[in-house]
Symmetry: C2
Amino acid sequence: MNDKLNELKKLTTEIYDLRMCNALLEWDQQVNMPAAGSAARAAQMSLLSRSAHELATSDRMGQLLEDLKPLYVELPPDSDDYCLLRNVYRDYERERKVPVEYVSEFTQTTGEAFAAWDRAKAENDFASFKPLLGKIFDMRRQYAGFFAPYDHIYDPLLDDFEPGMKTADVLAVFKTLRDEQVKLLHDIGVRPQVDDSCLNCHCGDEGQWALCREAVKLIGYDLNRGRIDKAEHPFTTNFCRDDVRITTHIYEDNVMSAVFSSLHEGGHAIYEQGVAKELDRIPIGTGASLAIHESQSRLWENLVGRSLEFLGCFYPRIQQQFPRRFGSVPLNDFYRAVNRVEPSLIRVEADEATYNLHIMLRMELEIAMLEQKITVDDLPEIWREKMHEYLGVTPMNDTQGVLQDVHWAGGMIGYFPTYALGNLISAQVWEKAAEDLPELNAQIARGELTPLREWLTEKLYRHGAKYYPSELVRMITGGGIDPRPYLNYLNRKYRAIYA
Amino acid sequence: MNDKLNELKKLTTEIYDLRMCNALLEWDQQVNMPAAGSAARAAQMSLLSRSAHELATSDRMGQLLEDLKPLYVELPPDSDDYCLLRNVYRDYERERKVPVEYVSEFTQTTGEAFAAWDRAKAENDFASFKPLLGKIFDMRRQYAGFFAPYDHIYDPLLDDFEPGMKTADVLAVFKTLRDEQVKLLHDIGVRPQVDDSCLNCHCGDEGQWALCREAVKLIGYDLNRGRIDKAEHPFTTNFCRDDVRITTHIYEDNVMSAVFSSLHEGGHAIYEQGVAKELDRIPIGTGASLAIHESQSRLWENLVGRSLEFLGCFYPRIQQQFPRRFGSVPLNDFYRAVNRVEPSLIRVEADEATYNLHIMLRMELEIAMLEQKITVDDLPEIWREKMHEYLGVTPMNDTQGVLQDVHWAGGMIGYFPTYALGNLISAQVWEKAAEDLPELNAQIARGELTPLREWLTEKLYRHGAKYYPSELVRMITGGGIDPRPYLNYLNRKYRAIYA
């Protein structure tokens, strides 16, 4: 039986490594590749991902999993081996349910849709994108069908990104969240706006670059096991736990964009760097889910990075780097500026107090589409209505509205809620950390981020994907996903800023 | 039959793409990867190369090749399809002759030998490296045995790098070469040495970097289909004909090292960029052999780059970049300085007039080892003797002697002659180019490199690996590999400089 288990581990490592090779090809595409190389690169990436899929669904894999069933039922449920097997059983069964022809047609469709979306967004031409978008929703409905019966048609899609998560639970949490966030926004709206004009200044590339490096080093991103590069869109990727890379994008007229985005990616990265060595290069040797990952990027970006304590320690370095810009701006003004709340049209530019509302809007539309309560023709109008209802702003065109995100074109339906869930979990984890580390705020103010990082590593990072997201949340907080801590955090912080 | 041919093309493209993925992993390892990532990277590279090997020797491949035999014998011998099939038959038969266990043991052995060599070289400790080096030569003798019968035990090894090349032919050519190069060196040795002190000055990284870019752009390396990075050891790699990358290493106290090395790698790169589009991503869509490749790197580095004509055009840019260093150094002094001849111990630092002698020494030792006329114990002493005989210098220790090159540790026996053959071919090709382009020297002096590059593309680059090296040489020059043109070039150039 141990031979079989070792063979399975070897096989899963091969699959993992193939996927990590692909991750490197993608990193290179975004960081280094001359544009002329893109056709060959697409073919190479598709080859590697097909190879990984073939191995993962191979008869050899099926036989090994069959043979290992007697062992599986006897293993302790918190052992690495049990969790690995659980993960592989799950993925194998899920992948086998989806016909190869479907995968290939879906890949083809999203490839075309990406190009169509890109053009449609640039030209504010939703009509030209509509047929492909309709097809993608149809195909995702078909996909859900492979997993029938289900409680909710959205469940199988959500489950791809958040193993074990149920739509009903997410909707219940979001209900509370929406009402309270809309209320908070309304209360802020009647107060005088925060002045953030100090941020609208030209800051050189090199100085920003230095600040980004300092910021991620400060929170404990290990550059000996990673690197930072520039890319059009910031992202984090890893090829093993000892090679976890982040990218950033520097805007010369917006100094804090790159710094906060580096803290965000740095948060993702220290999670991956903190996975236990024993789990490296097997399927459970990576972050547990998108929401759990996002909880860590948001924790380091927002709960740490945008706090008065952290800025008390880091802002002097910004002033030192750009003395003419910030030398005479007091810390408190700067803190208020980087925490300005302003309902806006674009999700990726949204602040903490409005971000989740963008997410809920998208999830509601996705569900309505899947349930066929609306059609693709209705999307632009409902988008505008909901934006006005939740955020009080209305897009002038579809480029600023329904066309703004790449996710639907990429077929990633069920992805959006993970962003908001990440926010909620970040606050839940934070509350627990603050309980266990009574000096937390004082430590942050002194630039001592090690105790927090070590606490997170012990409670969360080292486990990788051994546990499902809800199990992890329960292990850390004793309960389920709960919007209360995040709402408390938002209310406390923003009512003070807008007092 | 056409279906079978298309299936074969698809399969060879997959194999090619897998190898190119591996090339990217290796490029990244040398350019970007944090050292901590090396263990996972080695495993990932070994996985991809195993996958490629499995596909290349698969029963599916065997069956396709069998089925295609009737077509093969009917195709015109200069058609792309014929040449592709010939290449694939050849590789398939060669790879099938080598047992999988041998490949795996050899990979393991060279892996260990590389580490042992690295340490032995640093510590001048040949004794510790000897057992593994002995094993590598034993294993290469065993490897040659898989291809018995052969005319010469060195033939199967040479054939890995130079398809179709025979040891007897190489030895005949080298005989003439050695005698005449030793004589030239002797004649130069009695003349006053050239003063190259102008090169020993500090030149900043940024200025050198700019010159490297200018130099490769000038010879026609297309940066829209490539890029230059810094690496410990300069190299060229490609992932398709539209993504061909070079690296360079800048030494602040030796301004011309990076520039000439960039011209060298740039030569390799424009060869790959010039392969016909129809051949992209199939096995014949790359350079024909190591010697043919080296002929092009050496042609652009030496016959172009170190010529008075090219420097007449490029030296002003160097002066402009470093006015304090070179502003008052006349062109002719600079030309003589970068063409100084000095017998030295280290191959990679050798000048044009001595380089081939380093190569011949190595090839003679390799053959003597394979023929068991000497043992690994004899290597250091024979190395010293031959260095004294050919170059008049004697290494003080093994680090400067038998331990200096990585090739043997990597198992690459049969590789060295390709460097010298490259030099010879470069001059043969050059003679033909000069016949066809009567304005060649005047064009170079004006910085017009396009006519030469286009001529080379037409005669050589576009063919990729359709033809064997000797076929290409015959197509271009009408004859076989001939040392005369290179000797004429050396004698003319260096007897003038040392007049």
